[in-house]
Amino acid sequence: MQVVNHMKLEFLSVPENEGFARVAVSAFAVQLDPTLDVLADIKTAVSEAVTNAIVHGYGPALGTVAVEAALRSDGVLQISVSDQGRGIPDIAQAMQPFFTTQPEKERSGMGFSVMQTFMDRVSVESVLGEGTTVRMEKRLREG
């Protein structure tokens, strides 16, 4: 599958960049003319992954979050969100609905469930002490 366009963003893991990242990816996706509902899905999924990098990957320390997006010739948008933070000890457990390691901060544990519901594919790679990459795909038009 050919990549017809690609972008990469790097930013400091401060909460103000959650909005920046989701709007930037949504603006990138707009070139394939997706519906507003599809754009809202993408924004929400990006917001979840970037928030996780900020609060779980690095928090309370700071680090760099990388967001990449690629448009494929078959009409699929690929997104990856990476941090070089603490990593996830048990990915299957982390992805369970309502599982959170920060209940005292009123986190809902629904971030991965939102990503999985709003995107067509979600996969997670993580190494303890090295960081986490979340890859997501969404079809924007028939290829």
């Binding site: 909460p15 103000e16 959650e18 909005g19 989701r22 509902d37 809202a40 899905d41 924004k43 929400t44 917001s47 979840e48 928030t51 900020i54 609060v55 901060k105 009123e106 986190r107 809902s108 544990g109 629904m110 971030g111 469930s113 939102v114 519901t117 709003f118």
Partner: protein, 99 residues
Amino acid sequence: MEHVRRRDTMTVRLTGELDHCSAQSVRRELDGLIADPGIKKLVLDMGGMSFMDSSGIGVILGRYRELHGRGGALYVKNMNSQVEKIFLLSGMDQIIQII
């Protein structure tokens, strides 16, 4: 935050985006508005909200617990389709009434 109190009911109009970044200030403002224990019902009017992610679920459920703990209830209204999708996905419609 635009709000109106009628007897034991506080209605609050949420606007803008509710994510992790804004969650703390939204939480603080809502808690201020329901601080009087005489308030038993909180109605969240989401009509002016343009975005919410799962951090918003945490904020809403936290306020639900507070109201529920004092024998009250929480209601939401005017959700857009994106917000409603998050709401249904998390099963919040099981405990929070959409009016």
